[in-house]
Symmetry: D2
Subunit: 424 residues, 4 copies
């Protein structure tokens, strides 16, 4: 299914008057509104191929219908999102769930939707049929060099797939860890991981990056071998200039100040980018901005400040991706909501009066500093984000249009109601 | 497979000298050692039928071999445990995973291993093939009365199975909750749950109990409809004398003082019993006592104090069950470790000098109170627990004997290496 | 110091054009804007007398200047706040820090600022000079009946002060708990607390309420005798119709779903009201809405829904108070920020389309439910809240006017720079 | 007051028979018992000068009697502890609370008790009378270079005091942070801290170490400028070979795996040492081992393994200190309990069968690895720790002897009941 431009135009026409009223109101208040819109237009958030089907928990999964059954359909799904919001112009593949049989064909298909290939992701947290060694006790950190070798080779294979598709980064997320005291020698697990990553790093093309993700716990419940930003940064520093630390919002201990971590990683030149989601308790993988929208804003506040301080291009300097699990909602709608929430937070962060904030900080005027951030955050920027979409030819209200066009029903018609996506 | 008494005797013979030395040493220090042993002998911890296979997480499962493929084999597994430790004399079934086709036969089989049937458990957190209504958005709390009715009927069916088997309690654990703000009207969800539970309660035989379990989060990630002990107790009080609150150690927010909850539930006469496991981060479902053994002791300290204060029989007054997930270890060995850790904690709690503790509390002698508890906890009670096993005809070291007898290898021979247990 | 009406008018005149533009824009979108404004006008948030000085931590305190040195000056401070925002029309006294020597005089003084007396607060968490028994090991829960008696008598004295001033509620917050395992018999501590509260309850005038506050931890670090809403509710139910559970936002374990607790307490008819503040880690006592503004909105969402469902008057049915610690900011400005954030959250909650939300919930349309809440929350309601202030004769921007009028400088002139408030 | 050797001997004589029975029993089971005892004898845990008085919270303090009123009395207190346990042979001073007027005299006094001077501690988290610049908004991270300079100069002064006393390390714990979003530029705060620390580092004598402590939160409640081990390590690496990361057990987010952090810091050669205490909720500063004794053991398990792997001397290679707050107990008794718990954990860690553990880890035998750790932990090592004390001339039961000798009463006689220690 492809969305006809004309449907988008009709949808926008119906909302135009209301939108213009709201946009004109807010635009008058914001000196640099055109610059904000321009940045919003360029800001693309990649969609992971594994987030297009219904997610589950260890207790079960309640599958939806019309899920994409193969890579081509996954690309079609992201194409639909991108047509609706013009902000999801990249797809992030997961190997072995999405091995492209014919890379050129796949590239052409993606290009037909305006999609590029974001970071590729390896999977050494599950055993695949026919796999020689099991990852039950880890992969890159494994005590057995044969298991490590198998996992390294898999990552190299993933890089190769990525090269064929035009990706420029490999994301390594490891489930490696332990569930019981005594199970692991932490130091040797770290060293094994480092050695394995070095071998993978050695295969990175010149213009590639290696994203080292960290996670506090789950699926291991006593220790994780790359558990926090400090461990990831230690690895990235030992690996070299192409290695960076990837931040997934759900991968922290309770109450962690993620925005500070972001600021420091930017300071060190080692922030890879983000896996966006939201959570209340653990790695809940909920829709971005659905539980802690102010935290999302505060993170973007640090991102904007830190990227500008280092001259990093907002759109291309870091990796932006959603990594959520859609257990209850239609995955495509959930993704539209996430992208929208992320752009709202980004827009609010762009409104922060940096000169005034700097002055408040320099004089320890805590009240003023708070008011400056709250002033940006309390501003209703939805019309600005919508205006950016409008100018890009996207829908003023992507979720509404998704419903109006009965997208899911049409996908079910095309794919059948039993189609289940590969992935978690 | 059944364990020959003679193997146990041989095993014990080999360890007898070492055991006697340790037991004699410790017995001399403990005035009431015989009473402690007697209580330990009577203390039985039920094994849930779903814990006999390898557990998993949403990221995957690394199955072991020789798992029980049907109810008969599950009973056989618990029979093996009970033969080894004489402390696992009951099995807790889960419907629909373990529907007994012929209750009398199943009862006779269990009896042949010395096993009784503990509380039966309903499942409305997953959809079964052919089920009319989905539990995707809950069961007993559902907005749709037809879904609630289906879930109520299922619970009544579970009670009926339990009656046939000689169970005396129904455990209701609900995944009902919400993952996003706004999804639920909390009040109506609670009221619906209450109404549903009332219908179930009405079907309870005179001598049955209803165990209402609570859980802070997962698989829903914003709210749980029975989220904490306060909500469970509210329901239990509204339901009546046969309703009780069940405590699962992993179902709390970080840092919760579980032992205080236990004490207050005992005070109110509303403690159902326990689902034992351990955890570091969330509902990690690890081996009991493997992460926070002192907490386990403190809980037993309250249990012993509170049961004695109310005249509750330790062995029969409350429900004792393990509820863990065996992702990495052989499930049977993991269960042996859990049972052992629980009995160690119980034995330590029995050693607490209650008169001295009372006196210390009455005089606010915090130092003395701490020393009294630590004195019991730091005592090496393993020989006492082992002595109780020895007198019951169980193995001095069940884990060692499990390995010596190559139990798992024999089960694989009997069941094949592809056998996978139903359950999580 | 009193604020001249004319200064407020001048201030408002200067901001009027900007305000009107914003208000007219938003008012056009909101059908019931007049009703919202009317509710906002009536909504008063009490100021605790102990929050008018600089707060501290166990590591120290960095006092500000011109703090109120006696009860009269504290009333003056709240009078200033109320003049600026017309939303802080009550003061909550703390005995023995604020014993009124001449109740009639104090009442008249308060009345001259338009202030009433909110709940009175007892203090049994500190020893006062000359006190016979120490509260080191607790007060109402103490093992020694003499200490309990002293604490009960103190609470009765507080009620008597409150009667003289026209208060209608007693708030009991206890530090009672334990810092080490073994220190307390939880059950007896609970029973002692209950008996003590019963004696206090017996002295409540007919039209008074008893607010039973709970807190998870601090200043005791192992257990708190009224630790959570379940324990408070248990006490309130055993005490009678005049006893209620008070919610302080900072008194929970990490990640607690406070809005659900609020909903259930309203369901049970047992919600006393709120102590507002915000926190990231523990009982941080930060400015309301400064860390988790969406949580504050979600709580008000439940409040509005639940109060309406039970026919509770928003303005008078529950107790609303700030309870924060002003360690870094000028306390008066901090309080203005808190009141503003609370009213913003309340206004947003009043905008929620309840009919649509109900429909979404009834059809398990999770996407729509989220969008409905986010639609209200993302609306910039500041002009509505300001309009309510304008109509009441308060300042359009209270914080700005506080600064323009150099309020603190004038207070320092009047009181001297060494004046330090009694309290924490 | 000094404890007469003869009192210790009498005390030991009274307990000797019971001790010998227990020691002989356990010694027979432990091949390397003499080596364990020898290590225990050498292991000294420093006592901080600020922990000798009653601690408090922001809600109040319930002072005890006979607290040390000056540095000489603090040394006397530590001397008493050391006489009782022969394991507290060092004192850690805090400037400006404990400025030695005559260093030589103070050294001689300490030497007369067998005490050395451990790391010296600076204090830039409070303002001292007459101080030019306030630390309200931080010290080494402050936006104002004059404040930073003042704080740097203070640290240099502390080093100079330490040199005079024979200390070999400076511990820097900063309260620097922020309580509200926007207050700080995280990056600049970090850079300012780094520059300040560089200046301090430049004044370190050749054989000194700089211990950089981290803390997650409190007394600031939004961010801490050295918040976690990653930030501390980043600083230590940028500073140079003499800079190390100090671990305080209470300074972590909930559920942090501290033992893994310890292992990795040892791997990097950057572990400074420890501030021991225990906690359930936050930085509760409770008696070591009183809440999570298994965690304490697991930390020592990593310490022993990691120190041996790097050839670090257990007794002298790292800094060992208690950092607790004695709110309810007599501080001296509390310290005796802490030291005892630490030595018990150390002894248990020394019992771990490292060869077997290594083998279990290499074969992913999770069951065996757990059993090996539990076997050591469940062993009652109290007689071994007591034997080490006995051989050193300390008391078999220091807490009991403290009580028998009425130490506190005598101190009250000497110092009066109003004496209050400087410090927190």
């Amino acid at each position: 299914m492809r969305i006809d431009k004309k449907h988008i135009e009709e949808h926008n026409e119906g909302l135009r008057a209301k939108h213009e009223r709201a946009f004109n109101f807010i635009a008058e208040d914001i000196a640099n509104v055109e610059e904000v819109i321009s940045k919003l237009e360029k800001f693309q958030i990649a969609i992971p191929s594994w987030a297009l089907g219904t997610g589950g928990t260890r207790f079960g999964r309640f599958s939806g219908k019309g899920e994409p059954g193969n890579l081509e359909q996954k690309i079609e799904d992201v194409g639909l999102l991108h047509a609706l919001n013009q902000s999801s112009g990249a797809i992030s593949l997961h190997i072995p769930w999405d091995i492209p049989q014919d890379a050129e064909k796949i590239k052409a298909l993606a290009a037909s939707y305006g999609l590029a290939f974001d970071a590729v992701n390896s999977n050494t947290f599950q055993d695949q049929a026919g796999q020689e060694h099991s990852y039950k006790f880890g992969s890159l950190h494994h005590v057995d060099p044969k298991v490590r070798k198998q996992a390294v080779d898999h990552n190299i294979e993933v890089i190769n797939h990525g090269i064929a598709l035009g990706s420029k980064a490999l994301t390594v997320w490891l489930a490696d860890g332990s569930s019981f005291p005594g199970q692991l020698n932490f130091r040797e697990a770290f060293q094994n991981t480092l050695e394995s990553l070095k071998e993978i790093y050695a295969h990175l093309p010149e213009d590639w990056k290696l994203f080292v993700e960290y996670k506090a716990f789950e699926p291991n419940f006593y220790s994780t071998t790359i558990a926090d930003w400090g461990q990831s940064l230690l690895l990235a520093n030992k690996l070299g200039d192409k290695a960076y630390t990837l931040v997934d919002l759900g991968h922290h201990l309770p109450n962690a100040n993620i925005e500070q971590i972001v600021s420091l990683l930017l300071m060190e030149g080692k922030l890879a980018g983000f896996h966006f989601n939201d959570s209340k308790y653990a790695d809940d993988d909920l829709t971005a901005g659905s539980v802690k929208p102010y935290q999302l804003f505060l993170i973007f506040n640090e991102l904007v400040e830190g990227m500008d301080a280092r001259g990093i291009d907002h759109a291309t300097g870091l990796g932006w991706m959603i990594d959520a699990s859609h257990n209850l909602k239609d995955p495509l709608v959930d993704l539209l909501q996430s992208v929208d929430a992320i752009k709202i937070a980004y827009a609010q962060a762009l409104l922060v009066d940096r000169t005034a904030l700097k002055a408040a900080q320099q004089s320890n005027d805590v009240v003023a500093a708070q008011e400056i951030l709250q002033d940006a955050y309390r501003t209703d920027v939805r019309a600005i984000v919508a205006e950016a979409r409008l100018r890009q030819g996207a829908a003023l209200n992507p979720v509404a249009l998704f419903n109006e066009l009965n997208v899911r029903s049409k996908l079910i018609e095309e794919r059948g109601s039993q189609s289940v996506a590969t992935g978690l």
